[in-house]
């Protein structure tokens, strides 16, 4: 038995090791890529023509507000002293974007070491670099062979800032590869007295950029370790739950404990931020909530009526206290009273009356043709349908009528009622099966698509990577 267990464990272990090795070599699988960037904002004073709707009014006709630092308003109205805030932003991208960027990067690198055979003599730096750029782009596109679209950019903003000018006339001897030619062109510009700043060619995210070394360029698209670890954790949890099908085990119990802890906390957090803060605290302490937690909340005066639910809420929590637990019954009474009153009216109106109303329709149903004549065949079947429906409802109700003994005619009708109910339960069973299977299918899709990259229904990855898991 022990040897058997050991064998099983080693097989599983080897399988897991192979899986992990495969996942993190080559294109791999089970990875999540993101594009990192920066979200930056600046506070500007915008002129307003109408009365300001929100924001603090500094003086008449001016509204102070935060805008995206790259927006037109920021360009027009922000000064060096304007308050600024920035933080890191992360956007998920599909693995395909990353793969294409990598292919484009490789194509660019390869193109850079091919010979650049145009002659740059007596032209200005701007034209020379543009010629070089277009030639490189053509080479890189040929290298990528349609699998990716590399781009090449000259960062003139940075070059200008360092002192390079488009109009500087340069003379360069032809020959050498693209990289050497670029260096030669810029050296010529330096020799012409433009600048002595260092320049560089950065290849990242499928884009080659000629810029100064001061312009710090780092790849934005890359693997997100936190999300990739998260995905693998999700897989472990999924398999841990499925492992219960084989037999109960500690891994399953751990997963079960995690779900209990996480969901209780999850609901608590959501109810606090989505309900208690805006709907209770926002009513009792509007200024505090507006100033610190929900700046978008409109201005308003405290609504002291909301002390009632606050007190009821507090009483409900008394259930956890060692003494005075009976006070929570007051809140329970409120909950029960509200629910009872809501249900009483709604069930009478929406269920009892409306359902009887829907049943009481003429037994003979007339179905018209397009030309206004009666369609006898359809009318016959529609009437059969309506009659069956009425018989069904009445016989089922008879069956539910327990204060009369089910004998004689009543018994026979009740038996028809049972048949109708059995068909109803059969239908319910069929639909339940359908639902359960769809849920299982969704989990398998997660494993095959998001994790193993076996299938790619939403075109997240290139075709090459889709079969990558097959070793």
């Amino acid at each position: 038995m022990n040897r058997q267990k050991l064998t099983l464990l080693s097989i599983v272990g080897i399988f897991v090791i192979l899986l992990v090795v495969r996942a993190f070599s080559g294109n791999g699988f089970g990875r999540i890529y993101v594009e990192r960037g920066e979200a930056s904002f600046v506070k500007v004073e915008l002129p307003v023509l109408d009365a300001p709707a929100d924001g603090d009014v500094k003086s008449e006709g001016v509204r102070s507000t935060w805008v995206d630092a790259t927006s037109d308003e920021a360009v027009d109205f922000a000064g060096p002293e304007s308050p600024r805030v920035a933080w890191r932003s992360v956007t998920p991208v599909s693995p395909r974007v990353y793969f294409e960027a990598t292919i484009a990067d490789e194509a660019l690198q390869a193109a850079l070491s091919t010979p650049f055979d145009a002659t740059i003599n007596g032209t200005d730096l701007g034209t020379a670099l543009e010629t070089w750029r277009l030639a490189l782009l053509e080479k890189a596109n040929a290298e990528a062979a349609g699998r990716a679209e590399p781009t090449v950019e000259i960062n003139w903003t940075a070059l200008h800032a360092a002192g390079f000018k488009r109009k500087t006339a340069i003379t360069v001897n032809s020959g050498g590869d693209f990289e050497a030619s670029l260096g030669a062109m810029l050296d010529a510009a330096r020799a012409a007295g433009d600048s002595d700043a260092e320049t560089t060619m950065v290849v990242a995210d499928g884009k080659g950029t000629v810029t100064t070394t001061a312009d710090d360029l780092a790849p934005a698209i890359g693997l997100s370790w936190s999300r990739t670890i998260g995905l693998w954790l999700a897989v472990i949890f999924t398999l841990a739950i499925f492992s219960f099908l084989y037999k109960d085990n500690p891994l399953y119990k751990i997963a079960e404990s995690v779900v209990v802890g996480v969901s209780a906390a999850y609901w608590m957090v959501i109810s606090l931020w989505d309900m208690i803060v805006p709907n209770l605290l926002g009513q009792l302490f509007p200024d505090f909530v507006q100033g610190n937690l929900l700046p978008g909340l409109g201005d308003g005066d405290p609504n002291w009526a909301y002390l009632v639910p606050a007190i009821f809420g507090g009483l409900l929590l008394m259930r956890l206290a060692p003494k005075g637990q009976y006070l929570s019954l007051w809140t329970l009474a409120f909950i029960v009273g509200t629910t009872a009153a809501l249900r009483m009216v709604a069930y009478i109106e929406g269920d009892f009356l409306s359902q009887i109303n829907a049943t009481i329709a003429p037994l003979y149903q007339e179905v018209m043709n397009a030309d206004g004549t009666v369609n006898g065949y359809s009318s016959f079947w529609a009437s059969v349908r309506q009659i069956t429906l009425v018989i069904g409802v009445l016989s089922c109700l008879t069956y539910f009528f327990f204060s009369v003994e089910h004998k004689g005619v009543v018994g026979k009708v009740a038996r028809v009622g049972i048949w109708f109910l059995m068909i109803t339960f059969g239908a319910a069973f069929g639909f339940t099966v359908m639902g359960r299977i769809a849920l299982l299918a969704a989990r398998f899709e997660f494993l095959f698509d998001d994790w193993l990259w076996l299938i790619d229904p939403t075109n997240q990855r290139s075709v090459a990577a889709a079969v990558g898991c097959l070793f």
Partner: protein, 233 residues
């Protein structure tokens, strides 16, 4: 006192809410009560968390069997609560970048979102997906066509299971769609069963339950049904 106050609260809230359905100038009373109800419902989630804490702390302190699992429950509970309540790693709302607590705790990329996406979601979804396996096992062991009623049930289930997939269409596509027997095509038959037999059965159940709920509600509001207060009278 312990029982009288709750009974009065139930009665007053109940009556006010019912009246607010019929007397226009009392409508706002009803709205007020239902809004309060929502806030209390939100507090109930806090109570849920508190109860969980209490139960598992006791389990740990008593060293009950499986107390290590209780540690996991509490650990994950505390971690999720911390990243959620304190909005750890949450960037501010882009419209108000200077208010640090204005951010969206559920937004993509926050640690709280991470817990949802990679822990809560796979676990809850897989737990429900397991039912597909159990229903298959139950189908093999429990469903027996012992009598006419059971045969009706299973027959209907077969028609629904086939009629709601391509199999039904495939098996009976030889019946002409505009002929007199088109209703016998499995997909048509499953629609017919749902709209006539299932509707009749469920309608009777709905009517019965509605009467039961209305009756119970009335008894609760009038103080005749006190079972929710717990204990004997």
């Amino acid at each position: 006192m312990k029982r009288i106050v709750p009974l009065w609260i139930t009665a007053i809230v109940g009556v006010v809410l019912i009246i607010s359905n019929f007397v226009p100038w009392t409508r706002s009373w009803g709205e007020e009560a239902t809004t309060w109800f929502g806030i209390i419902a939100a507090v109930a989630f806090v109570l849920g968390g508190g109860s969980l804490l209490k139960v598992h702390l006791k389990k740990i302190s008593d060293r009950n069997s499986g107390w290590a699992y209780s540690m996991i429950v509490l650990g994950t509970f505390a971690a999720t609560l911390a990243v959620g309540l304190f909005k750890i790693g949450v960037s501010p709302n882009p419209s108000f970048p200077d208010v640090p607590w204005s951010g969206d705790v559920q937004g993509q990329g926050t640690p709280f979102w991470w817990v949802y996406e990679y822990v809560f979601k796979p676990l809850t979804a897989t737990m429900f997906a397991m039912l597909a396996f159990y229903i298959a096992s139950a189908a093999f062991r429990a469903f027996r066509a012992k009598n006419f009623e059971a045969m009706l049930l299973l027959g209907t289930a077969f028609i629904i299971l086939l009629g709601r997939t391509f199999a039904g269409y495939f098996m009976t596509s030889w019946i002409p769609i505009d002929g007199p027997f088109s209703g016998l095509r499995l997909e048509e038959l499953s629609v017919y069963i749902m709209q006539v037999f299932n509707t009749a059965g469920n309608r009777a159940i709905i009517i019965g339950i509605a009467l039961g709920i209305a009756g119970t509600s009335l008894k609760i509001i009038m103080g005749l049904d006190r079972s929710y207060l717990g204990g004997g009278d």
